[in-house]
Symmetry: C2
Subunit: 427 residues, 2 copies
Amino acid sequence: MSDKTTQKDSVNLSRRSLLTKGAAAGGALVAGAVSARAASPDPLITEIQDWNRYLGDGVDAKPYGVPSQFESNVVRRDVAWLTADPKSSVNFTPLHELDGIITPNGLCFERHHGGIAEINPADHRLMINGLVDTPLVFTLEDLKRFPRENRVYFLECAANSGMEWRGAQLNGCQFTHGMVHNVMYTGVPLKHILNEAGVKPEGKWILPEGADAAAMTRSIPLEKAMDDCMIAFKMNGEALRPEQGYPVRLVVPGWEGNMWIKWLRRIEIGDEPWHQREETSKYTDLLADGTARRFTWEMDVKSVITNPSPQAPITHGRGATVLTGLAWSGFGKIARVDVSIDGGRNWETARIDGPSLSKSVHRFYYDFDWDGSELFLQSRAIDEMGNVQPTKNELRAARGVNSIYHNNSIQTWQIKPDGSAENVEIS
Amino acid sequence: MSDKTTQKDSVNLSRRSLLTKGAAAGGALVAGAVSARAASPDPLITEIQDWNRYLGDGVDAKPYGVPSQFESNVVRRDVAWLTADPKSSVNFTPLHELDGIITPNGLCFERHHGGIAEINPADHRLMINGLVDTPLVFTLEDLKRFPRENRVYFLECAANSGMEWRGAQLNGCQFTHGMVHNVMYTGVPLKHILNEAGVKPEGKWILPEGADAAAMTRSIPLEKAMDDCMIAFKMNGEALRPEQGYPVRLVVPGWEGNMWIKWLRRIEIGDEPWHQREETSKYTDLLADGTARRFTWEMDVKSVITNPSPQAPITHGRGATVLTGLAWSGFGKIARVDVSIDGGRNWETARIDGPSLSKSVHRFYYDFDWDGSELFLQSRAIDEMGNVQPTKNELRAARGVNSIYHNNSIQTWQIKPDGSAENVEIS
């Protein structure tokens, strides 16, 4: 995925532009530094860089590894004012600190309705009941005897970017777009489990239910359940994390995160939807005329620039600059991402790098020389079905500003001459 | 990737075979259990499964998440007798506990020669010197201004499976094959950095050097350096872990792990190899005639069954069984994996599931009904270049048994009627 413009930007990082930036950044990248150092030892190396003078920790220090102490700022963050209690709240993936397409398990955003159920897997069961030939109860070991698959999918909360409906609110992509993560799931296709129980001809919907205190439930059409839904027990190779539904969660590719029932304990099969709290009072989209869209499951095509951004300003001065971000769609693969540095007047095609997988985030880059002037950065994703990410005003014209869900509009970051960034709106 | 036999096994998990296994495993998977429960409440649900009766931890509990307390056995393990001190030792990835193709960062095996350098990234520098037009010194921020790429690669220690040369030694794939991991790297193609300095026409080799106490160095041909080598600063989305070279390591796709210099601080360009300790005294392959193979960089095509295996026996009794494992090759993608349950007399093609990427591990499955008899499990990988994984005796006939490096031979696990597994050799 690249066009001529991007190719040029990628390969034409001239020596001159890099030397200029080196000087601007404090002189580290300067030709001749080596010979100067030979004549007069650099105090950085002789006094500060002392890590090669002693033996470090051995292999027995951390049987399960943790990040460097210098990365302590790379964490999930909540906004305490958002909810009455952290047990029914959300925290956000630090998108501005990440790259590639895999979200590390320890940094996947959380959203709970009754706190994290701490389940002993040996005592956990999954029941299939309702309109089936044979009601069944599965242990975790039973589930692991069915054929497995491995798929990388994004999970996005329907309320991601929800506070942006009424204007630029939160100053950083961790908070505006951080209710998304992307991991490789290992599990059993749900159809295998449903076929084992035998769905009766009148069975048209399923109701997965969580084993947490909130007993989360959502109605899902049988057609989706038999298509690409999974019962997952691993994420990024290891067991699900407790906050992501350990020991088993439902995976509903491309659809809103609320439906990916965690701590999955029961799936009922019925002939019509149940109209539960989470699909009536919540997770519906209130329109300008007072009516509400319901069953808006698919997550629309979307993208955001993660760097530079308010939490990750440009600190190196003018010259060669890497702009990067994420794009995703509940309808399949991303076909193209465009980037504008002038608030949407001109667009260039970004370079997508890394695996391009259906219903997974895609990583894009736009490599350019910053001249130090004010910029208005935007990204616009287009998926393989031809869906195009709308502007904020286009979306508002269609849906009003009453909803908190399904805001997939184009985000703008203002870059100031000092390199700092701000969440702004341009009309 | 599947053949007719596998397809049949995948879809023909008959109700009968599952009900049989359910009974054998303790009766959890039994038709009618639901109605029985309605009449007489199951004590498991009413007394033991109490996690839905109280609110769990909220989102502020762990800003950087950790695994469930019930997964405390999923850790890297060393073998204390292997080396004099853990600072120059190795620990092993728990392959038998993982699935999919991504190794979580906290579980990637470690190998150090002088312990883990704990580097402050603000003070770290990368120098390019030797046969270049302009010697250069880069800060981490400088490196992040070059165009980036994202690639999933396996890293395997040349000594992986090294103790198996003289016969079955270690009882578990974590120890026989656990010096391999597979992550998505984000970084800068090395060619961009070398081109920035300008390699002189007589420059034919590079010598990357680590900033740890061991100052690890290896000679690498310039052709490989300019092909697919990367300077990586992220793994699986986040910063490299300290034990994996934080803040920057060299990525040398498909080649032995010892060359992937961690804590990378310098790259010298020269006109011939340096013949350092790690490519003369160590990491050479002593043959039967007393001569040694040198510069054996590529990791040969290889596979191992991770489940069932000695650390992960069959506990569910006969019936539907998922056999799974990993295959990889330093020469590209895996084209096919064959599985034998009778010690190599008959072979079936396994099902590869998940992304098939060059120089990355591939996950394979073989779904079969176990009849409870003794089995001798083997897997045999074939890569896209046509390389075929050899038997142990084929490899010994070619190379003798003096080496500890580059053992890519077929591994055998004996499955006993009670489901336990053992590392064995069959002639």
